[in-house]
Amino acid sequence: MDALLKIRNLKKDFAFGSLLSRLRITAVDDVSFDVMPAEIFALAGESGCGKTTTARLILGFEEPTSGTIIYKKGKKRRKPKKREKVWFTQGVQAVFQNPFETFNPLRRAERYFFETVRNYGLAKGGRCAESLIDETLNAVGLSFKEVSGRYPSEFSGGQLQRVSIARALLTKPSLLLADEPVSMVDASIRMSIVNLFKQLRDEFGVSVIYITHDLATAYYVCDRIAIMFRGHIVEMGEVENVLMAPKHPYTKLLRESIPEADPKKRWKESVSLTDIEHEEYLRKGCRFAGRCPEVMDVCRENVPPDFTVDGVFVKCFLYDEEGLMTQIRQSAVTDDAE
């Protein structure tokens, strides 16, 4: 099966500070992944790992410094024609973190639906549009009657997030980009939103890029997962392999640090934390080297390539079985000799 979305060597630099003391941070560094049709793909990591920047690059809110984004064989261009843009946004829709910020509080929720219908020419005439909107709202467990005439503040957080998802579904997209869609929703109704993504995948064949910091829900909902750390994807593969048998030391740390909802599984050891975050971005080799319990000399100097272990991509020299490490070391020695 062909991939729905192909991301290749995506990179984004941000610069901070004044002209004289410029600080360049690579927020997304050499990120490549595929999203298959009817698949929930999770991009997980802590804040500042580049997951939201990746989403913004895909949606075209930011221009990548380098790299390519290919959606259904159509390469995303720097300055797309209007027709291309409409085609792309019709297929790729977004759901954001806080539904109360997604919608303008002074605008009735249904206005967004009619606007989307008009922008994409989805229906002819008001009656036709209404039935289309009703149909879409039914898919998320709401109806046009419940939504029409109401302002965003009149919905609960969970309901409004459903409205936001329904709005995204209106164009019948093949890919939904959901950036932390449940982090603002109460625990008791969180799973109903998460289940909705599963249902969309199974019934309509919609693919979802599920961006989250919550590995437990990611495990529950997604098929494949990529763990990001300071701009790199450090581990990527089937969720069962990645989260149940983590390979990269960072994934291990992350996995152990999730407080499990089981009083019998309390933590015993302690962790070390960084004081200053941007130092990790500027690190030369592997960015986890400063905190890694299994750090080697080579990690401090070189960014590890992706190694494949049991069908999982791991960006870590620990899995370097073919001796790439020694090659690098040798070449360093010869460089010195010259």
Partner: protein
């Protein structure tokens, strides 16, 4: 329990705290805490959980005696037990209350960025704080005390020379917690101390809270909506729903044998590693505290709702083994398990 009842340090009796708002002549009453009785013991971590808008933070404010209009104490009592003596903080003078704060009960608020003064170095914040509570100390003494304190808690003393914005969120939160523990309070009240932190950092913050509690042998009242955090640190948990404490027990029992249907939904909907079976959320959405449903506030969402639930709020009953629950299913003499 070894026969000896642990001593209570903080208790409330039918506490009611409402927000009374006067908007254009019409009075609006938000019943944020609606009759809560808890007994919090010495040397324990007492967790309070519930959805946003269930009154957790308001309960904490009442416990810390920081009630300010439009929030008002409508009924009931908060009592601190200090050296066997019961003190009602609301009857104290301003000065007495100020003495009590930080020395006997301290507070770790949500969002550490707004706690520390952004234009002062941390050592100045520490000094200000020490000068107002400990008399006859010079600047050098206070800095030395602050340094020693941070060192004991395993935090780098060099943060004292930094401004709050120069620290990472996790370090800032830990410094705030350290500040709250500086005078060795018997009760520490923490409001969502780990929310908005990354998992690894969150773990560090929880570790710090735990180690403070273990060394001071004091009481921590921890509010968080994250059940994973509760499972990791709390000894006992109270679950709040719409301003009422609906269930309270040891952490093990709440996770293994929740009796209230709401708690059951809450626990059963938690995703677990290694288990991909379908999870169900509680139906409906949380009620508005302005217009509470009649009877038990959970009845519109409850799959086991009976006629009596629509009419009357169930009393909190003790089902033994440190387990208290407010539900008619339990009142009815059954074992409370959903039929």
């Amino acid at each position: 329990m070894n026969g000896v009842m642990p001593r209570t340090v903080l208790r409330t009796e039918q506490l009611k705290a409402f927000y009374i708002l006067d908007a254009f002549g019409t009075e609006k009453i938000v019943k944020a805490v609606n009759g809560v009785s808890v007994q919090i013991r010495e040397n324990e971590v007492y967790g309070i959980s519930g959805e946003s808008g269930c009154g957790k933070t308001t309960l904490l404010k009442a416990l810390y005696s920081a009630i300010e209009p439009p929030l008002r104490l409508v009924g009931g009592k908060v009592l601190y037990v200090r050296d066997g003596e019961e003190i009602d903080p609301y009857s104290l003078s301003k000065e007495e209350k100020r003495r009590l704060r930080w020395e006997y009960v301290s507070y770790v608020p949500q969002g550490s960025m707004s706690v520390l003064n952004p234009v002062k170095k941390l050592k100045d914040s520490y000094s200000d704080f020490l000068e107002s509570h400990v008399e006859g100390k010079t600047r050098r003494d206070t800095t030395a005390i602050a340094k020693r304190h941070l060192h004991e808690l395993g935090l780098p003393p060099r943060v004292l020379d930094a401004y709050p914005h120069q620290l990472s969120g996790g370090m800032r939160q830990r410094v705030t917690i350290a500040l709250a523990a500086l005078l060795g309070p018997r009760i520490m009240i923490a409001d969502e101390p780990t929310t908005a932190l990354d998992v690894v950092v969150q773990r560090g913050v929880i570790q710090l809270l735990k180690s403070i509690q273990e060394s001071l042998k004091n009481t921590i009242v921890l509010v968080t909506h994250d059940m994973g955090v509760q499972a990791n640190i709390a000894d006992r948990i109270g679950i709040m729903y719409a301003g009422v404490m609906i269930e309270e027990s040891t952490v093990e029992r709440v996770f293994e044998e929740p009796l209230h249907p709401y708690t059951q939904y809450l626990i059963n909907s938690l995703p677990k590693f290694g288990d991909k079976s379908m999870r169900q959320s509680a139906p409906g959405s949380p009620p508005s505290l302005e217009k509470l449903p009649s009877g038990c506030p959970f009845h519109p969402r409850c799959p086991h709702a009976m006629d009596v639930c629509l009419q009357e709020m169930p009393e909190v009953v003790d089902v033994g083994k440190n387990h208290r629950v407010a539900c008619w299913l339990v009142e009815g003499g059954g074992d409370g398990r959903a039929p």
